[in-house]
């Protein structure tokens, strides 16, 4: 457990020291949100209706950039081998990395949401608590398998291509659930459907966070 907290602290510190990278990610996400507006035209009703989808596509796209760099420091100059020789359990390493990635992705979501609200003219009736639950579980759904795939592709020459190729098909269920959940949190949930989408996200998160913890050791052994 101590290893987990030390590694988490280290990863968050690295994230904080490289905050210019986070600013870059927020700018990247902003550009994507603007692109959707330009691509679909100025029909504000259509843009408002699909705002949740644009937000999640922007988050998914930005998350691949975030994840691709999460093992960069470890792969440089044999740092990963050093870490494992301490010895640090691969499970602690996975959960620390995934939690740090989750914190950074949530930061990105918090930064992009007000912009989404302004650009797509989201109006009252937003439930902040429900929105927070969907965004947290949805982001966990992206970083759970994403962290494992980031470790898997970190040492490949074609990592920029391989990470989204492996990750995108896999995270379609949490992205769909997050989009539906966000829509319900933004516009109201008279039929009580949000619980089923949150349950789907929770099951997906539990499954992939468990698999990630078990399987990272097998990836690092190589």
């Amino acid at each position: 457990m101590t290893h987990f907290f030390v590694l988490l602290q280290k990863d968050l510190l690295v994230g904080w020291r490289g905050r210019s990278r986070l600013v870059g990610l927020v700018t990247y996400g902003t550009s994507l949100l603007l692109l959707f507006s330009f691509a679909l035209g100025a029909d504000s009703a259509v843009l408002r209706e699909h705002a949740a989808a644009y937000l999640w596509v922007a988050l998914l796209s930005a998350s691949t950039l975030l994840l691709a760099q999460s093992f960069q420091h470890e792969t440089e100059a044999g740092a990963l081998e050093g870490l494992l020789l301490v010895p640090v359990s691969p499970m602690a390493l996975y959960y620390a990395k995934a939690t740090a990635n989750l914190v950074l992705l949530l930061f990105l979501a918090v930064a992009l949401f007000p912009l989404t609200a302004v650009l797509f003219d989201l109006q009252g009736g937003i439930s902040p608590l429900r929105l927070a639950a969907v965004v947290t579980l949805g982001s966990a759904g992206l970083v759970g398998p994403g962290t494992l795939y980031a470790a898997l592709t970190a040492r490949l020459a074609s990592k920029q291509v391989m990470l989204p190729v492996l990750l995108f098909p896999l995270v379609i269920p949490p992205v769909v659930a997050s989009v539906k959940g966000t829509q319900l949190a933004l516009t109201g949930d008279p039929m009580g459907q949000l619980v089923s989408w949150l349950s789907l996200l929770l099951i997906f998160d539990l499954l992939y966070w468990s698999l990630g913890g078990i399987l990272l050791g097998k990836v690092l052994d190589e």
């Binding site: 398998p145 494992l148 795939y149 898997l152 592709t153 040492r155 490949l156 020459a157 074609s158 391989m162 190729v165 492996l166 995108f168 098909p169 896999l170 379609i172 269920p173 499954l207 992939y208 698999l211 399987l215 097998k218 990836v219 052994d221 190589e222």
Partner: protein
């Protein structure tokens, strides 16, 4: 005669018998008419696709915990055959959907989850191509296969879990005996053919493994280009 070839030839023969009965002797489907005869091709294709990907998952677990290259070669063969059959499944479904649903594609849960499954496993095959070290390739693709396999039961149960325009499970309750017989014969023939494909593809993977054992591992990242040292030029020319 080669056993794999014999298995494949037997598979083709049995499959043709099943398809022949299904096409020429079985009655047309009550609602879809002759279009419903896709049953004898589509269901066996889906079955072999799922079977191959499930076998790939089992081989991946074996490869990861056992570390023997033979598991890896079967995993590679099973994924490739599973992807080919599942892609054929999507193509057949599209051809059937046009006259029946009046569209090539619809975002139905069964169709969508099947498409995700095919793309996820194509990703695993691409990953295998991107990793040069055999032991690393085995571990990485086994992990990716285990992760991607989670979609396979989702595809299978999608007709139960969600409201869908796709037909439910085909079985004793909803397929008449006169149609069930050619379906089972086609299923047996396609399974034999699928197994022959897996065995034949595994042989190629195993041959490459033996070849790689004789050759040293290549680095994952190409070494940086080094320019010739100008100070040595005279020596080289001399």
């Amino acid at each position: 005669m080669n056993k794999t070839l014999l298995l494949g030839a037997l598979g083709v023969l049995v499959m043709l018998v099943g398809h022949g009965i299904g096409l020429f002797y079985a009655p047309p489907e009550a609602y879809m008419g002759d279009t419903g005869r896709i049953l004898y091709v589509h269901v066996p294709t889906a079955w072999v696709g799922m079977l191959a990907l499930t076998a790939a998952f089992a081989m991946a677990v074996g490869a990861l915990w056992n570390g023997k290259a033979i598991w890896d070669s079967y995993m590679e063969a099973s994924i490739e055959v599973g992807v080919v059959f599942s892609a054929m499944l999507l193509a057949q479904g599209s051809i059937w959907a046009k006259p029946t649903w009046n569209t090539w594609w619809t975002w139905d849960p069964r169709l969508t989850t099947s498409a995700i499954m095919v793309v996820a496993f194509i990703g695993v095959l691409l990953l295998r191509g991107a990793v040069h070290s055999p032991s690393r390739r085995m571990a990485f693709s086994a992990v990716a296969t285990i992760i991607a396999f989670v979609d396979v039961p989702v595809v299978y149960f999608s007709v139960e879990w969600w409201e869908t325009t796709h037909q439910g499970f085909s079985g004793r309750d909803n397929v008449d005996a006169v149609m069930r017989f050619p379906l089972l014969v086609s299923l047996a023939g396609t399974t034999l053919l699928g197994l022959a494909f897996i065995k034949a593809r595994q042989r190629i993977a195993w041959a490459r493994h033996l070849e790689e054992e004789r050759a040293p591992d290549l680095p994952e990242t190409p070494a940086p280009l080094s320019l010739p040292d100008p100070s040595n030029q005279k020596e080289n020319l001399g």
